[in-house]
Symmetry: none
Subunit: 208 residues, 4 copies
C-alpha cells in the first residue's frame, strides 16, 4: 500500500525566498485559527494580518484575496488529514489482525484527531456548500479517504465485500455525523461511551 495522494493544482502568488515563506506560513496559521474560531465571514483581513504579525500589504502581497487564503488552508488541511487517515488505515493490517479490535483502535484514533480541529472541520464543511472551488478540493481528498477505506475492506475481506464503495461512504459519513455531534457537545457527553457504541455499530455492520 503506497501513498498516491496527488497535489491538486491551485495557483497562488508563490513565494521563493525563505523569509517570505516563513511569513506565508505565519499568515496561514493565523488565518486557520481565526477561520476556525469565528468563521470565514467574521475573519477580517486585518485581523489575520495582526494575528500573524504582518502588515495588510504584506498579506496581500502573498495572497490575492481572503478566499485564496481559505482555499489554501483547506487544501493543505484536507491533504494532511487525508494522508494521516490513510497512514492510519494502511498501518492497521500490519498491527492488528482482529478486525473488531482494529476498528476500535481506528475509531478512537480518528476521533481524537477530529477533536483537535473540530471547529475548522465544521467551518470547512459549511464553506464547501457555498463555494464550488472549495467543494472540488474537499471532495478530492474525501474520495481519497474513501479509497483508503475501500482498499482496507478489500484487503481484509479478500475482495468479498459486495459494493465496498457504498460501504465506505456510509461508514465515512456516519463517522462525520457522530464526531461532529460529539465535538459540539464534548462538555456534556460521555465520549468513551459514545465511541464504544459507534464502534460497535461499525463492527456489526462489517462483520455480520
Amino acid at each position: 500500500m503506497k501513498e498516491d495522494c496527488i497535489k491538486s493544482g491551485y495557483s497562488t502568488k508563490e513565494p521563493v525566498q525563505k523569509r517570505s515563506k516563513e511569513t506565508r506560513r505565519k499568515i496561514l496559521a493565523a488565518a486557520k485559527e481565526l477561520f476556525a474560531e469565528i468563521g470565514f465571514e467574521r475573519t477580517t483581513a486585518s485581523l489575520i494580518a495582526k494575528q500573524a504579525g504582518v502588515s495588510i500589504g504584506g498579506l496581500y502581497a502573498r495572497f490575492n484575496n481572503k478566499l485564496e487564503i481559505f482555499l489554501t488552508i483547506l487544501k493543505e488541511y484536507a491533504e494532511k488529514t487525508c494522508i494521516f487517515f490513510r497512514e492510519n488505515i494502511d498501518w492497521l493490517p500490519e498491527q492488528e489482525k482482529d478486525l473488531a479490535k482494529a476498528i476500535d483502535t481506528l475509531v478512537r484514533g480518528l476521533y481524537y484527531t477530529h477533536r483537535l480541529e473540530g471547529k475548522l472541520n465544521f467551518e470547512i464543511e459549511k464553506f464547501i456548500m457555498m463555494n464550488e472551488d472549495a467543494k472540488k478540493i474537499y471532495d478530492h481528498w474525501q474520495r481519497r479517504e474513501d479509497e483508503g477505506i475501500i482498499r482496507y475492506l478489500n484487503y481484509f475481506f479478500q475482495e468479498k465485500v459486495e459494493d465496498p464503495e457504498s460501504t465506505a461512504i456510509v461508514i465515512h459519513r456516519a463517522t462525520h455525523g457522530v464526531f461532529s455531534y460529539m465535538y459540539q457537545n464534548k462538555d456534556s457527553i460521555d465520549e468513551e461511551k459514545l465511541l464504544s457504541h459507534f464502534s460497535a455499530m461499525i463492527k456489526k455492520y462489517l462483520l455480520f
Copy 2:
C-alpha cells in the same frame, strides 16, 4: 405514544392584523430560502425584503433584527421537523411489526424529508456553533427527537436495550452525517443504494 412536544417561548413583535400576519409569513419564507441558499451572513436585510416583496421598514416592523428572523425560522423548522419525525416513529409500531422493514421505511421517509431542506439543515447546523441561543433551541428539539427514538427502542425491545440513549444518539447522528452527504452529492450518487446500505447498518446495529 402521545405527542408531548412543547412550544418553547420566543418573543417577537407579534402582529395582530391579518395583513400583517401574511407579510410576516412572506418574510419568513423569503428569509428561509435565502439563509439556505447563501447563508446567514450573506443574506442581507434588503435581500430578504426584496424577495418577500416587502420594504425594509416593513421587515423591521416585524422583526427586531436579522438574528431574530433566523431564530424564528430555526424554531419553527426544528419544531415542525421534530413533530414530523416523532409522528413517523410513533405510527410505526401500528403499521409494521417487522423491525427490519420498519427501519427501512423510516430511513427512507426521513431521507426524503431531509432532502427537502438539506441546505437549511446545514446552515442551521453551522449557526448553532456560533450562537448560544440557536444552540439551545436546536438542542431542545433534537433531544425530543432522541426521546422519540428511545421510546421506540424501549417499546420494540421491551426495555431490553442496554443504554438506549447512546444508541439513539449514535443512530440519530450517523443519520445526519449520511443524509447530509447524500444531499450535497445528490446529483452524482445512487441514493437508493446508499439508503439500503445505511439502513442495513442500522438494522445490524439494532438486531444483533
Copy 3:
C-alpha cells in the same frame, strides 16, 4: 398695566370638535415631555403617538410634521411663560415698595418657575439657533418679557434709568445664564446661596 401679549399667527390643522381638541392637547403634552427629556431629534413621531395614546395617523391628522408640533409647543410655552413673567412683574409694585426686596422675591419666583421646565427651556434655546421660525417666535416673547422689565424699571425709577432697554436685556440674559447653570447642577450646588448672590448682583446693578 394691562396685558398686551398678542397671539403670533401660526397655521396648523385647527381642530374644531371637542374630542379632537382633547386629543390635540394629549399629543402636545406628550411631545413636550419627550422633547424636554430626550431632545427634538431623538423624539420620534411614534414615541409621541404612543405616549399620547394616539395612533400615528391621528397625530399626522392634527399636525403636518414634527417641526410643527415643536413650534406649537414653543409658541404656547413662550406665551405662557411670558404671561406668567409679566404678571409677576406687574403685580410687584402693588405688593412691594422696597426694590431690594422686590428683586429678591422676583428672582426666587422666576427661578422656581424656570426649574420646573429647565430641560425644555434648554431644548428650546438650542432649537432657536437652528430654525428661523423658532427664533422668530421665541424672540417675540422674549422681547415682551424685556418690555415688562423695562416698564417696571421706568415705573420704579420714574423714567430716570438711562437706557432701560439695555439694562433689561442684561438682567434678563444674565438670569438665563445663571438659572441654566443652577438647573443643570441642581444636585451639587447650594441653590439658596447662589440665588442670594445673583440677587445681590442685580440689586447693586440697579440701585447704585
Copy 4:
C-alpha cells in the same frame, strides 16, 4: 500665578505618521465647523468626511465613532478656552491696577473670544445636557475657569471677598448668558452698549 491646567486623558486611535496627524486635524476642523453650524445630530459622518476631504473609512480609522469626534473637539476646545481665559486673568494684575478698568478690559476680551465660536459654545452647552462624558469634560474646565476668577478675586480684594466661589460662579454664568444672547443677535444689537452695561453690572457687584 502660574498655570496649572492639566490635560485630562481621553483615548482615541492615536496616529503616528505625519500624514495621519494632518488628516486627523482636517477631520477635527471640519467636524467642529459642522457641529457648530448644524448640530451634532444633523452632522453626518459622511458630511464630515466630505468637508475634510477624507473618505469615510479614513475618518473611522482615526475615530471610533461620531461621539468620540465630538468629545475630542470638546476637550481640545474647553482646554484651549480655559487656558486662554486664565492667561487673560493672570496677566491682568500686572497690567492694570484699577479693578474697574481691568474688568472692562477682561469683559471685552472674553466677548470677542466667545464670539469667535459662539455657535460651538452653544452646541456644547446643549450636548452636555445629554451626555455624561461630555459633562464631565466640560465641567472640569469650567471649574478651572472658576478657580481663575476666584484666585483673581482673592488677589485683588486680599482675601476679603466673602464666598468668592459663589461670586465667581455667578459672574461666570451671567457672562455666558449675556454673551450667548449677544452672539445670537449680533446683527441687530449694539454690542458696545451691551458690553458696557454688562461690565457695569459686574463692577458694581464687586466694588460695592
